[in-house]
Assembly symmetry: C2
Homo-oligomer: 183 residues x 2
DNA sequence: CAAAACGTTAAATATATTTTTAATAAAATT
DNA sequence: AATTTTATTAAAAATATATTTAACGTTTTG
């Protein structure tokens, strides 16, 4: 191989590594381990990979790759692909960031909505009991009402978040914020 | 204090604790420590608190409260308030979840946009060098082009994310997704 | 059917993060 | 100015998380 070819190849590698580094660094804000973040970023520039190729490329253990791939599958950033003739499982990275955004945040927000709304409903029931209790003093009733109203108001936010999730899931949000809009 | 009053008070506490638990649990998905999560959730039901009150209420050390408060201030979920007559610093929780949402996600997304776009720009420069290099073989040029195009396409996403941040910051998103819309 | 290849699970190790205790710095009151 | 109060920083301890090595089970192939 000529020297200039070698230089070009390493320049391409360098270019990829810059992006890989940036993606991996921002990804651990998404609650994935460094190994999973590096793996996804690496796969972003590959057609498909087997566990052994991952292990070799990242110089990490196979179980680490196995666990990372599973986590990435959970948030749908990696999918298993069928490759005829190969005994090894092959995986591809989701390269459409819009899809990754949708899956990750909708999953995250729905979890938050569910958990908090359930707690709010239960809490409000308790508070209503106190308010209705004829033996409660006016001060107690006022306090219970205060918290009840605070929780009631917070529901506005969760309803809005539900709407946001729905509009992302349905793609309706792109009517408001088009994908291709130039800066 | 009468027995029924006591029962009412503990029922109110129970109600609050349910919500505190839920908020705290979902909050550590937001990259804050358990201490900070519990602290915010506790403060959500208080007018204002001093570090000593926090320490007492959560039964944790003062430095832990100090660090947690600082982190919460960074994401603007807690603000310092001036309380005349008190030497102790007093803090209040941001109770408007819309504001917290805006500050947290816009901050997060802007960081991601900046870091990844910078890397992409640098990488594309490298790739252009390779493409323009007259000594590059056709295969090398094709590879460099492939990655260049992939990166170029990904910019669509970051531009969109920028638009999303802008529409949240300006409040324009609420024209599309109103806050008070009933289910 | 035995041996090899592959993937996953379990236990152990390594690493990083969180929290506390102790020490220091800053501010305020007497 | 000295003492006390409050908050922060630094070092240590505790805890949790991530990763690896080793063992296991399953599938495939010769």
């Amino acid at each position: 191989m000529s020297e200039s070819t070698e230089r070009s190849i390493s320049k391409i590698e360098e270019a990829k590594d810059k992006v890989i580094g940036a993606i991996a660094e921002t990804m651990d804000l998404y609650g994935v381990t460094p190994a999973a973040a590096n793996l996804y970023a690496t796969m972003y520039f590959k057609d498909q990979m087997t566990l052994d190729e991952m292990r070799k490329e990242l110089e990490m253990s196979k179980p680490s790759m196995s666990t990372s791939v599973r986590r990435l599958q959970e948030i749908e950033m990696v999918k298993k692909t069928f490759t005829r003739g190969s005994r090894k499982h092959t995986y591809v990275a989701e390269k459409n960031f819009f899809r990754s955004f949708m899956v990750f945040y909708c999953q995250m927000w729905e979890r938050e909505i569910k958990m908090n709304m359930e707690a709010i409903e239960e809490a409000q029931e308790d508070l209503i009991d106190v308010i209705k209790d004829s033996s409660s003093t006016p001060g107690i009733v006022a306090e219970a009402k205060k918290y009840y109203d605070q929780l009631e108001e917070s529901k506005t936010y969760y309803h809005w978040l539900e709407d946001l999730v729905a509009s992302i899931r349905s793609g309706k949000i792109f009517e408001f914020l088009p994908k291709d809009q130039q800066d």
